[in-house]
């Protein structure tokens, strides 16, 4: 069972369109991170959100952490072909066996942006 559910699983859009990816859970996280992963490479951290309701912007990417710290969204404005990749959300939680907190990843959203 996935602790974090991401939707949609696949997204295929034209360059210039806007899109939103969702990351939902019934659990509360101390922080939420978004990563982008390209084929044959490891995930690369895009942003960390910590406070409920927090909004962070990274150029055309806008990240929001839900008020209850259970969900998050990633919005991309005017998508470009270079945005193509696997977008993963990851929540940090302290639970049994993890005194420092462990990252739980969602399955990811595979985004393809066509020219």
């Amino acid at each position: 069972t996935q602790l974090l559910e991401q939707s949609p699983q696949f997204l295929s859009i034209q360059e210039g369109e806007n899109l939103t990816v969702y990351c939902n859970s019934s659990s509360v996280f101390s922080s939420l991170q978004w990563y982008r992963q390209e084929p044959g490479e490891g995930p690369v951290l895009l942003v960390t959100v910590v406070t409920g309701g927090e909004v962070k912007k990274l150029k055309r990417l806008t990240f929001q952490f839900g008020d209850a710290r259970k969900d998050s969204s990633l919005h991309i404005t005017a998508a470009q072909t270079g945005d193509t990749g696997l977008y993963l959300c990851a929540g940090k939680m302290r639970d049994r066996g993890s005194t420092l907190g462990r990252l739980y990843f969602g399955r990811g959203t595979q985004l393809t942006v066509w020219p």
Binding site: L4, S31, Q33, G40, E41, G42, P43, V44, L45, T48, L88, A90, K92, R96, G97, S98, T99, L100, G101, R102, L103, F105, G106, R107, G108
Partner: protein, 112 residues
């Protein structure tokens, strides 16, 4: 600054064989992580080291998986014996601060 190095990049073995993966973290990073990423899923933490001590191995299948970080720098992850369901990408990550992990390119393991 050099990133996290992993080797080999690809490995194909038959079930019941043994395999080992190596990771060299970013210089100065005290915390090292091994993750398993099965196709179509997100990474799952297997083990976390702080220097050369284990701080979280609760999700490591200890009957067949082992990991060590003897000198607090590089690390090896071993699987013995491998099963078909171990086919995955094994990612190593390191961090200086707890919240920022830097991932290596991974080792893609195929078990036949």
């Amino acid at each position: 600054e050099a990133g996290v190095a992993q080797s080999p990049r690809y490995k194909i073995i038959e079930k019941r064989q043994s395999v080992a993966f190596w990771c060299n973290p970013i210089s100065g990073h005290a915390t090292l992580y091994w993750y398993q990423q099965i196709l179509g899923q997100g990474p799952k933490l297997l083990i976390q080291f702080q220097n050369n001590g284990v701080v979280d191995d609760s999700q490591l299948p200890k009957d067949r998986f082992s990991a060590e970080r003897l000198k607090g720098v590089d690390s090896t992850l071993k699987i013995q014996p491998a099963k078909l369901e171990d086919s995955a990408v094994y990612l190593c990550a390191s961090s200086l601060a707890i919240d920022t992990q830097y991932f290596g390119p991974g080792t893609r393991l195929t078990v036949l």
